[in-house]
Amino acid sequence: MAEKIEKGISLWSDAFQRLKKNRAAVVSLFLLAIIMSSCIILPMIPGFLIDPNLQNLMLENLSPSSAHYFGTDHLGRDIFSRLMFGGRISIAVGLITTMVSVFIGVIWGALAGYVNRKLDALMMRIVDILFAMPFLIVVILLRTVLEPKTTQLTDWVVNLIVTDGASVERINTVRTAVEPLCSLIPLFIAIGMLSWLTISRIVRAQVQTVKKLEYVEAARSLGLGNVAILFRHILPNSIGPIVVYTTLTIPSVMLFEAVLSFLGMGVKPPNSSWGVLIEEGASRMFSNPMQLVFPSVFFSLTLLSLNFLGDGLRDALDPKSSKD
């Protein structure tokens, strides 16, 4: 009996129970699962999707039909396929760069908020400087420096996968698979470098508020170390704004990817991403509105779901909220 109760209130299953009660979160989880799995699985089924880069200028700007579920774009390419393939890139970019930036931002902000005033000042002034840096110049320089490196990296990865005696065909298949991801690495670095600043400021402000609260003082008087206090008591109490800011970072990062793509840093044409599809659709919104509507709907639905799921998770993980 005692054992059963113990299990019942273990953190994760408890959180899951609470999450299940949150209707918005459940629907969001469901939607997310559908969108993400179709982006991942559908392109893998041979022959199911039309080649997203197959161009037929005779079939430009078609309306949705049974042959092209979402119609075709200005080059006669199938929009549904492009959305599915582009989703892979956007989701990868969104998740990876957000993780990088949240990781840097949280650590930096938490340290700045917790350490002594001199170090705090230095750390925050560095943030000020990075804020005011002209990002376009940084991007151009990063591209110039990193571009030759990505080719080397691709070669290296290909050599790692392919054994010496492999046929040219095999090398080419591996290369086409590896290349898109390798060519995105400068992008990860650029966005990771530039998007952690605001979150570090928010976390610092939160930490400064929380560290003066009674229970932290209590923990300190109990003799807990700084690291333990920071990670066990202070950060968990700042989780709300962190989760929220994370869900806010994802859409801006995904759109930022498109901006960089037009500067030669993100996804390379003819490949696509949701950001690029939205940018291209936006420029044609008054001649072919559907080319904007479909990518925007996918994009918004994904991020809305992510957002409500984030809120739900935050509530579910917050031990205090259960007492309400």
Partner: protein, 533 residues
């Protein structure tokens, strides 16, 4: 409820106020002000400092060259600052007789000395005028500009008296009157320029609103960056009695969707460029207002012929034959014309058409070059700038893949890196274009000579240059063109550039604007434009 009522009240007020108000175009029609979309912000208005088309539109209203722009035709040479002109039999010496009644906008007389001063300023090495090559037709001009000749007296331009200007040219230039319509040949007022600084000072207050004095139909009255340039009628212009407009407002709208919207909302009389994807819609909805005029611009793929593979003519020809130009111009480049040679329509100049779409021949040429079915073909990339060329590049990429089975990457760059990469020959293929300055094949052909700053292909040909030279010294206008046609044929046979489209000027023009027939160079003199309600 109160809030709701307030909101409704506010909106009705706005609505009523706005319904009564006339559009900006209607007001401008009453005031006789032409509202022009000008495509972008001018860098400067001093004719000696700029190189662009955008600046040229404004400068042409502020100044007038020896020969004026004709409202009806590009090939008519209408008297401008000069009343008459004559030349010696071999076109190397020209005399222009200025209008004695010609005045600057401050009332001073325009003299031949102003012209000489102007060419002296433009050619002086210290002025560092970027477009100075346009004056190199004049004898010793290049030498003076390069500092090899120090005395301007030796340069072939002389004021015989106050109203007679004589040019000694380094070679026969039968088309000189057309060249003098370009803003690099315009006069600047000596007395005004010198009152704000030395002759060779680059940026002085003389070109600001209020200070700037010109001899054109209009005077600069206001300039706010990224907002507007306004010019008003010049009462001292020799033909002011026949100028119908009271002024012109240039709006430097860079976003052509914004510009089109502004036109449709009655904020503009004429737009600079219609976005290609709106062409069909506008053809259907505004058939009387859409204008599709031919224009002297050519779009091409520039090849770096120093790259292994691209150094073979067969490879370049294969890439060329694999492009379906007609389809390209029917879809993405709506309004443009499929190019069958490099130079667009220039009147009597008719080079042989050699370009075409022939996938079988393309494949065969590629195989002959050593890449059967694209096997072993190097992985080239196609350079594009950050403008709206992505769709074109993707279309070309797919055509090359489908017809030749080769993979070409697309490399998008910011505009600074894009230009520099071409100048440093740090590219394989690049999407590029060229717009002519005047109606003569030289404006398209001279750039492909060895070492020319606009060549950027690594390609050069002695035979080609011999032909250009031969044509330059030929005194028979027709024969001269025939030699140029042969030179262009040679250029096309070698294909260091792969032309695919000739530009068109597709824009919207308000029905209230009169006196605006299609012009190849698109230099519509405002002095002949009228506004009717």
């Amino acid at each position: 409820m109160t809030i709701l009522r307030c909101i409704i009240l506010t909106f009705t007020t706005i609505l009523l106020v706005n319904c009564q108000r006339e559009t900006q175009v209607e007001k401008a029609n009453r005031d006789k002000i032409l509202l022009v979309g000008n495509g972008g912000e001018p860098k400067a208005l001093d004719p000696h400092l700029v190189t662009g088309v955008i600046e040229s539109k404004i400068i042409s209203s502020l100044f007038e060259g020896l020969v004026g722009d004709d409202a009806e035709s590009d090939s008519v040479m209408r008297p401008g600052a000069a009343l008459t002109w004559e030349h010696n039999p071999d076109f190397t010496e020209w005399i222009f007789h200025l209008r004695p009644e010609g005045k600057w906008s401050d009332g001073e007389t325009v003299t031949a000395h102003d012209f000489v001063f102007s060419y002296n300023r433009m050619l002086h090495p210290d002025t560092a005028a970027p477009y100075v090559e346009m004056l190199y037709f004049i004898k010793n001009a290049e030498e003076f500009n390069r500092g090899k000749v120090l005395d301007f007296e030796q340069v072939g331009v002389k004021a015989i008296d106050d109203f007679t200007l004589k040019f000694f040219l380094k070679e026969p230039v039968p088309y000189l009157p057309g060249v003098t319509r370009h803003y690099t040949w315009f006069p600047v007022p000596k007395h005004v320029v010198l009152s704000y600084g030395k002759m060779t000072d680059r940026f002085t207050r003389w070109s600001e609103p209020g200070n700037m004095v010109g001899n054109g139909g209009f005077v600069l009255s206001s300039w706010r960056l990224h907002d507007h340039v306004k010019v008003v009628k010049n009462p001292f212009y020799w033909d002011a009695a026949n100028v119908q407009l009271n002024g012109v407002t240039y709006l430097p709208i860079e976003n052509f969707y914004t510009e089109t919207r502004a036109y449709l909302a009655g904020q503009l009389h004429v737009t600079y460029q219609l976005p290609p994807d709106l062409v069909d819609k506008m053809r259907a909805e505004y058939p009387k207002e859409i204008r599709e005029d031919p224009y002297v611009g050519s779009r091409f793929v520039r090849c770096n012929v120093t790259r292994p593979g691209l150094d073979q003519v067969k490879v370049r020809m294969a890439l060329s034959y694999a492009i379906d130009r007609k389809q390209l111009c029917d879809t993405i480049l709506k309004g443009y014309e499929a190019a069958d040679t490099y130079s667009p329509d220039l009147g009597d100049y008719k080079p042989e058409s050699v370009l075409g779409f022939d996938p079988a021949k393309a494949k065969q040429l590629l195989a002959e070059a050593g890449y059967p079915d694209g096997k072993g073909f190097p992985r080239y990339s196609l350079l594009i700038g950050s403008g709206g060329t992505r769709a074109t590049s993707e279309a070309l990429q797919a055509m090359w893949k489908d017809n030749l089975n080769i993979l070409i990457d697309i490399k998008a760059l910011d505009s600074g890196s894009y230009i520099t990469a071409q100048q440093k020959l740090d590219f394989d293929l690049a999407l590029a274009g060229w717009v002519g300055d005047y109606l003569d094949p030289t404006t398209f052909l001279l750039m492909w000579t060895k070492g020319n700053g606009n060549n950027n292909t690594g390609w050069s040909s002695e035979a080609f240059e011999t032909m250009l030279d031969e044509a330059a010294h030929n005194q028979d206008a027709a024969q001269r063109l025939r030699i140029f046609e042969k030179a262009e044929k040679l250029l096309m046979d070698e294909q260091p550039i792969i032309p695919f489209a000739w530009q068109a000027k597709t824009y919207l023009l308000s029905p209230s604007v009169k006196g605006w027939p299609p012009l190849l160079l698109d230099n519509h003199p405002w002095t002949a434009v009228r506004l009717e309600k």
